[in-house]
């Protein structure tokens, strides 16, 4: 629909205009161009000349882009605060994911009677509970991390941000995972300070690879994060070719 405006679209996105505003602008420009072309045809110009004259009346890309850029409030949050989206949000999301996981395990434990509510006698952990914990850990490690990476890559591509931002974000996620992998100690019930299952984030000392908790998990996540990076670079190349 907006093929004549592809360079304008790229320009606006790179200038930080939110994609939804760009979409709407280009749609209305396309409709306006159709009206102008019809007007020129009615004035007696042939198809080609009518199209050229209509495009000239609409304004060149520089004017159309400047008109949008001058208006306040059309820039996206990602464009205005990339550091918040790509540097602050990922640690927050990873931590939130961990807390949700712990909450889910505790709720499942209570619902399934694994965690006693009144008596304080240690109970053996049933196999189904251990399997559930393992499954949720697997999802956290091998699904949530690449999905988060993909989300960041998609946001960067959508706003034509420099690939450096999502790359930094993914590096940060890996760094966090390097020093705080999801691990559940579901083999015992802690009755020291009350009835609760003990969960913890295993920590390695910063920047000491020999203290890494789990190399296979780390490399698995790194490999999975290569997928959104590859997608981002491919999309960027495709966009550049089309422009």
């Amino acid at each position: 629909m907006s093929a004549p405006f592809e360079p304008l679209r790229e320009r606006l996105l790179r200038a930080g205009i939110a994609p939804r505003h760009v979409r709407r602008y280009l749609r209305e420009l396309t409709e306006h161009l159709a009206d102008l072309t019809a007007e020129q045809r009615a004035a007696g110009y042939d198809e080609d000349n009518a199209a050229i004259r209509a495009r000239a009346l609409l304004g060149d890309d520089a004017e159309l882009a400047a008109a949008m850029e001058e208006q306040p409030g059309f820039r996206s949050f990602v464009a205005r605060f990339p550091w918040a989206v790509f540097l602050l949000a990922p640690p927050f999301v990873v931590t939130l994911g961990f807390l949700l996981w712990v909450t889910a395990m505790v709720l499942i434990g209570f619902a399934g009677g694994v965690i006693p509510t009144h008596h304080k006698i240690p109970l053996p952990v049933p196999a189904w509970y251990a399997a559930t914990a393992s499954s949720l850990m697997f999802v956290g490690n091998y699904l949530v991390t690449p999905l988060l990476g993909l989300l960041l890559a998609w946001m960067a591509q959508r706003q034509r941000m420099k690939p450096l931002w999502p790359l930094l974000a993914m590096g940060l996620i890996l760094l966090l995972n390097m020093h705080g992998m999801f691990e559940a100690d579901s083999k015992r019930i802690n009755i020291g300070l009350g009835t609760m299952l003990t969960y913890h984030i295993s920590r390695g000392e910063p920047f000491r690879p020999e203290h890494l908790v789990n190399w296979p998990t780390f490399f698995g996540q790194a490999a999975l994060l290569c997928l959104p990076i590859a997608w981002l670079l491919w999309s960027r190349r495709k966009t550049a070719t089309q422009a």
Partner: protein
Amino acid sequence: MAGGNNNFMAGVPELMILRLLQEREMYGYEIVQAIRAQTREVVRLSEGVVYPVLHTLEKDGALKSQRREVGGRSRVYYSLTSKGVRRLFDLTDTWTGLAAAIQTVLKGGPHVRTV
């Protein structure tokens, strides 16, 4: 916008759009044609630049829009809100005062000689 100093023309499209929409709802192309016709082409717009102004006015609550099918074409019609009416009155006052002041200067009013 062509044919003028941008500083002097700032705010002109907004004022004209609000005034035109006070009479009836219109879509972008209609608005530009109306501006062209009513100003006898003294104010000439690169026509596409009207949309960011419309979108900003809508974002500010001065306009509302509605997409409609008319004659087999889908168009976005804009209309004035009560907030838009107030904004039109404010802008009209400002511009009327400014135009009067400029006229006075052009005619060589008394305050010019006091400089």
